[in-house]
């Protein structure tokens, strides 16, 4: 049973993590990002769109379209985040309101388009895009290690992609000049400006990156949870990612831990329901476990956490 908990837990925690990292990029640059939900949905939609139109051009058993769909999801998320960045940075609108608008708009657009496309191109009244099953693999030898071997057993290959992205994003945020500028923008944009760096440009890039990462997380969720894209993707995972990054104090590694906790809480809850042989209607109840856990963790552990100082502050050059 623990095996399932670990396997399913990771399959949930890692996509959540990549979305949360997207959030960290945006918020550490000073832009409040409530739009993660909309960004992950739009990214998933873009990836799925690619599969339904072009997936057929590849040979039957090829996994290439599946991997390409991840790239498409990143591009779609980035594109949609550009809209969010324009609202927040170029037009200096309120970031909270813009985020909520982006979420509502994303759900409306993708639902509408999915229906219309199904109707007009495939002549079936459905609000789902079938995208197939993501390949899973096991690593021999490693998978036979007691307990932690489960990490290497029967896992989605996107786990590898996400771990690689984790390394890259960590490097970029903490070790590169761009990351330094980004973090400085979220603390004191006046200081960044005085150092001759364009605050708005840095923030723009951060938000677009945030969209790309959310898009990747979104399409992975679509594969692992349902093997299709449907409006059901808007389940609040974007908000859960925000909770994870707050709990992780806007830092990548602690956020990783937070996501693991959420992931295992979820898979553990599912197993518990099965073990107790509860009827499936109770499944809804166990699904709330991660959210209840979020509340508790936030109450007890995030008191000392500090948001980036300039978070949500619209940068005004003229201020003296």
């Amino acid at each position: 049973m623990y095996k399932t908990i670990i396997i399913d837990g990771l399959a949930f925690a890692l996509p959540l993590l990549i979305i949360a990292i997207g959030g960290i990029y945006s918020e550490r640059s000073g832009v409040t990002n409530l739009a993660l939900e909309g960004l992950l949905g739009f990214g998933a939609f873009s990836g799925a769109l690619f599969i339904v139109f072009l997936g057929g051009h590849f040979s039957q058993n090829s996994n290439i379209p599946i991997y390409l769909s991840i790239i498409m999801a990143a591009l779609g998320g980035a594109l949609y985040a550009t809209l969010f960045a324009l609202l927040c940075i170029k037009f200096k609108s309120n970031q909270v309101i813009a985020g909520v608008v982006i979420n509502i708009l994303s759900q409306a657009i993708t639902t509408f388009l999915t229906r219309q496309i199904n109707q007009n191109f495939f002549e079936q009244p459905s609000d789902k895009f079938q995208i197939g099953v993501f390949p899973r693999i096991s690593i021999p030898v490693l998978k036979d290690i007691p307990i932690i071997g489960a990490v290497f057993d029967n896992f989605y290959t996107f786990n590898i992609i996400i771990i690689a992205l984790l390394a890259v994003t960590w490097y970029l945020l903490y070790k590169s000049a761009f990351g330094m500028h980004l973090r400085a923008c979220g603390d004191n944009p006046q200081a960044v400006d005085a150092a001759g760096i364009d605050v708005e440009k840095v923030r723009f890039k951060a938000v677009v990156l945030s969209g790309a990462l959310s898009g990747v997380g979104g399409i992975c969720f679509a594969y692992s949870i349902s093997a299709n894209f449907s409006p059901a993707i808007y389940m609040g995972y974007g908000y859960l990612a925000i909770a994870a990054l707050i709990f992780g104090n806007w830092k990548i590694m602690p956020t990783f831990v937070a996501c693991l906790i959420f992931g295992f809480a979820r898979s553990g809850g599912n197993e518990l329901a099965k073990f107790l042989q509860l009827s499936s209607s109770y499944l809804d109840l166990t699904m709330t476990l991660p959210y209840i856990l979020t509340l508790l963790l936030l109450i007890f552990f995030s008191k000392r956490n500090r948001a980036p100082r300039a978070l949500g502050e619209i940068y005004d050059k003229g201020k003296r």
Binding site: S176, A177, V192
Partner: protein
């Protein structure tokens, strides 16, 4: 060094206008390479504006700047940096959660390569910063995070920022306004070292003795116009002061003996903790009577500011009691305390004293807008608010481009301070708490504020003065309490304690004599 120019900086007919004021009026000024040049002038005379143009923050409306003999249009702070100009602003621009090194290299990060991957090299630069800081006697620890270091260290980081960028012209805008006397000495020493190293230094200050100590020449500005350029060695501080204000000023204040009345403020066994749960005020008791000026003297950071905050209601009390006119006020909110008769001029005027985006008129009724005549049944009465503003602007000589309609952010630092003082005195409270009331004010204004404080005392008000300037304490106080390490060392009548005794007690030398 062969130079093909006489002056490193030359302003020709430089003019800058803001709505309602000519901040700089056709200024002609030459500064030589390697000299320390001071700018002196009343609050709002246009000193910061002139330097902002040199640093590329404002564009001149008329006139030209010649840099190293060449006519130069300085487009932005970045451009100024490229031209080897650096500036330490009145308000620092540092990233709080970065280390000192990270702040210094921001924007021009040194790179290194690890297994072929380029990275910002902070560790390697720490050593360089260490060396640089030692070279000029700046003494900072490169790995400290800014949010953990004090004002004086932050200022040194700003100086290092300029040096790291190889600035040749260094501008300091009121660098000593926020520092303690010891820190000021230290800074002046640094400025001397910089001059030694061949830098050209421009220093804005209101403190004549500092200018006397470090500057070679000094320009005097009044109302945006250049009045005179003086050789500092050959000019007395009295002459400088007179030129600056435009009439004879006396540097000390006249005051009668106090007529002590009943006890207004009674602080009993006060204990306070800061936000890290550290005890910063221990068992402090004192009284302030009507008609007297009681001052707390001490080196910055010994708990005196916290005592003021606790009395005003900004900081919760750990234990002890505070009575105002025999009524315990421990549990009262800030507004209730104001209504009971406390006026407060806080240390940080931009955070606690003013709403920077509001007009001057609105700031002047910030603590009374909900009363008649400023509002009627929750509707503000603009006419009453404007009349009130005009009255205070007149009485307190607040200078602002558009009068009562001026947005406070655009006012000069000294005039912001005058606005707070005007508002608080006007509340007509029984107790007035002044914390560093003359910080950033020019001598003329300091004298005016001192006269106001004494006038309030003579009207029978109780006055608690907290200041880091010993001169100010000695000039004004009737009784003096000296605080060290959160404890009162000594309370004495002003005439019974000498300047040296105060100084010793401030260092914790003489205990309860």
């Amino acid at each position: 060094m062969a130079k093909d120019y006489d002056y490193i900086i030359e302003f020709r007919h430089l003019t800058k206008r803001f709505p309602g004021v000519i901040a700089n009026d056709s200024i002609n000024l030459q500064i030589k390479a390697g000299e320390t040049f001071a700018l002196l002038g009343e609050n709002g005379a246009g000193k910061s504006t002139l330097m902002s143009m040199l640093f590329g923050m404002y564009e001149p409306d008329e006139g030209e700047i010649y840099l190293r003999g060449k006519k130069t249009k300085i487009k932005s702070p970045r451009h100024a940096t490229e031209l080897s100009i650096g500036m330490v602003h009145q308000h620092f621009k540092l990233v709080e959660n970065f280390t000192i090194t990270e702040n210094i290299v921001l924007g021009i990060e040194p790179k290194k390569s690890m297994i072929g991957i380029p990275m910002v090299d902070i560790k390697g630069t720490d050593i360089k910063i260490s060396d640089l800081s030692r070279e000029y006697g700046l003494d900072v620890n490169p790995t400290d995070v800014i949010e953990d270091v004090n004002v004086s260290t932050r200022q040194r980081v700003e100086i290092l920022k300029m040096l790291y960028r190889e600035a040749e012209i260094l501008i300091f805008d009121e660098p000593t306004a926020m520092l303690t006397p010891q820190e000021i000495e230290f800074l002046l020493e640094i400025i001397r070292n910089l001059k030694e190293a061949g830098k050209t230094i421009i220093l804005i200050s209101h403190k004549l003795d500092e200018i006397k100590q470090v500057a070679d020449r000094c320009a005097i500005l009044r109302n945006g116009k250049l009045i005179d350029v003086l050789d500092v060695k050959e000019t007395s501080t009295q002459t400088m002061a007179n030129l600056m204000v435009g009439k004879d000023v006396s540097l000390d204040v006249a005051k009668e003996d106090s007529v002590k009345g009943e006890v207004i403020l009674d602080v009993k066994n006060l204990f306070l903790k800061n936000m890290f749960d550290v005890k910063i005020v221990k068992d402090v008791s004192f009284q302030v009577h009507a008609g007297e000026i009681f001052s707390l003297s001490g080196v910055s950071g010994n708990g005196q500011m916290e005592i003021a905050d606790a009395i005003a209601g900004l900081l919760p009390i750990d234990s002890g009691e505070i009575f105002l006119k025999n009524r315990k006020i421990n549990e009262l909110s800030i507004r209730e305390r104001t209504e009971q008769g406390i006026s407060y001029i806080p240390e940080d005027r931009q955070v606690y004293g003013l709403v920077l985006e509001f007009s001057l008129a609105n700031n002047l009724v910030l603590k009374s807008y909900y009363h008649e005549p400023y509002s009627n049944r929750h509707i503000l009465n603009d006419e009453a608010i404007f009349n009130h503003a005009d009255k205070l602007i007149d009485n307190f000589d607040i200078r602002a481009g558009k009068g009562k309609d001026t947005i406070v952010r655009s006012m000069s630092g000294g005039n912001q301070q005058k606005a707070i003082i005007a508002r608080e005195i006007d509340l007509d409270s029984d107790l007035l708490i002044f914390v560093q009331p003359t910080r950033g004010l020019d001598i003329g204004a300091i004298q005016a504020v001192h006269q106001k404080i004494i006038a309030e005392r003579d009207r029978g008000k109780a006055i608690l003065l907290i200041s880091l300037e010993l001169d100010e304490i000695i000039a004004l106080s009737d009784r003096i309490g000296v605080i060290y390490n959160g404890e009162i060392q000594r309370i004495a009548d002003a005439k019974d304690i000498s300047r040296e005794e105060i100084g010793e007690a401030m260092m914790g030398v003489a205990k309860n004599a």
